[in-house]
Symmetry: C2
Subunit: 349 residues, 2 copies
Amino acid sequence: MAEPLSERSQKILEVIIEEYIATAQPVGSRAITQNHAINLSSASVRNVMAELEEKGYLASPHTSAGRIPTEMGYRFYVDTLLRINDLNYQQKDQIEQHYHRRGLQMSDMLREASRALSSVAHYTGLVMVPRLKVTVFRQIEFVKLSPRQVLAVFITQSGMVQNKLIQLDEELTGQELEQITNYLNQTMKGLSIQEAQARIVAEMAHEKALYDQLLQRAFKLSSAALIDETTGDVIIEGTSHFLEQPEFSDLECMKRIVQTFEQKRTLVDLLDRSLQTEGVQILIGSETEYSEFSDCSLITAAYSGRHGTLGCLGVIGPSRMPYSTIIPIVDYTANLISRLLEGEQDLGE
Amino acid sequence: MAEPLSERSQKILEVIIEEYIATAQPVGSRAITQNHAINLSSASVRNVMAELEEKGYLASPHTSAGRIPTEMGYRFYVDTLLRINDLNYQQKDQIEQHYHRRGLQMSDMLREASRALSSVAHYTGLVMVPRLKVTVFRQIEFVKLSPRQVLAVFITQSGMVQNKLIQLDEELTGQELEQITNYLNQTMKGLSIQEAQARIVAEMAHEKALYDQLLQRAFKLSSAALIDETTGDVIIEGTSHFLEQPEFSDLECMKRIVQTFEQKRTLVDLLDRSLQTEGVQILIGSETEYSEFSDCSLITAAYSGRHGTLGCLGVIGPSRMPYSTIIPIVDYTANLISRLLEGEQDLGE
DNA sequence: TTTTGGCACTCATAACATCAGAGTGCTAAC
DNA sequence: GTTAGCACTCTGATGTTATGAGTGCCAAAA
């Protein structure tokens, strides 16, 4: 059981998985001997298939229906059998076309990334919007909406814009607000939000601040503006691709997936977990740890700006997914976005 | 044919439609005589049903399957038979709960409105985001991202925030930018965007501007910032409710609807058309003029701020929809949002 | 020892026939 | 004008059978 698969078994497993990915039909021994360059009789293939089933790489829906890959089968395939295709010219072009328009803001760019993923991969595209705390401070502006209400507009080095409505304890004059703005912009420029927050805490604790009411107000205001209470956001494009998959013709199952997409929460958690990983990460079925995705796979890659990892993006679809073409699409998109975001920053400095 | 329906026929039509809305099953003559206070034999009902079918209000899927309402049937029902329920306490409460959190920005509020519609009505909620040009100018800020790139942050009286990246022909110093900002904020405060644009055009034409380079730049910049090239946006919540409807169990049809939602374009057009209408508007089936919605109905109502209509919101679902409960939900939500937005403005002045 | 041809067996799927039930339309009687 | 009754239609459920794809196993061949 723990003994490794022979080369021949591996080859057959590979062919079965690729055939199943292509057709969505259980693969029989005969299909293998006919369609592919395997010089074996169907009986020999059957023996190997029985072995692969026993070891857990394959399963049969019923006696006379051929075999389909298990999660473990896909995992082995991805880890050891997969040969990743290079993107062809057309695919690269198709991805890049999404960014030809000039003057895209960061949020637009991320949306385009999700669209690109969805349309090129033909699965659902996901892009996680950078968490505030991983971004770098560029500029803050306060807009007074009413005596006790201020809108903080906060711009990160990478060009993201965040708005936040702040309720004030005490009234501030326009002049005070301006002073605060200037002070904060000087003090925090170039700091990461985490650094900025740390500095705020430090300076607020520092007694010096006690003497300067304005400073104290400034810190209060900025700490209110920089608290990131949002749960994170994900840009989802191409939900409808799920409806094309024969494995999700079950409406009940489909509904659960769409609902999960709508809540976004689960996807945020999922993508968060992928954030740490270097390169392309692949989660298959139960590895996602969500039952609604038990027949899905998630392929993700992190993207970054000049100051490090910003977020991650990827594609979700059925486990029966052409990994060899999807992986480079995700990889290429993540790199492209990273390059663009780093370029943006160059302009900014 | 053109002769009107007798009272009895109308009553029977009403019962059939309501029964069909409740059960999603074709309604037979017997169901009517049993379940409802109609003192007629099934044979008499059959006569009436034949008449209603001939006149186009009903259709029969096949000989032995009872009748279902046609589009014309629904239209007649909505126009003349419908008695609109009042919202009960729970429903009102459920809608209002979405706004209890303080410090909601306009965009958050609109999202909540869409969620509220979706969760209370159990159909898909739609909210059209106000077009820039119907809003009132409050404040503009320019943030210099690079020598030739400026981010314009534009805040409307109703608290909406719009960002736009502007490419400059010529470099501007921070000081110049500040002057421009001040000038524009003074000049355009309280103007509607249409008025503001008109003024820009007028002043740019005016020869006085020729002498003052700074002014000219100001106008250029603001006109770039105020051009609304976005196609309009719609906030959609509760797509998954469509998957609950038995009439859309056809995956192909379902997919077309979800795709249409994803593109948003069609929905923008649809909602745009409803914008002019006073009160609640109802579009049934082909009245939407989109084939993918041939079995859907759209119920909308406009919402407004103090300065007039801002946008519209509503619900889309199958034509077989409990109009009497959905209509007041849409109506109430639109009024509530309008009230809140007008309140927001009070705070702002 | 490995491979393969052959054969019995299993099971899903499609095709077909049958039947019950729901509903209609029509006619004659009330 | 209303209704009871009846013949008729059509769907959907049920059951039966045939087909065929695919397996497992065994004995013979390599």
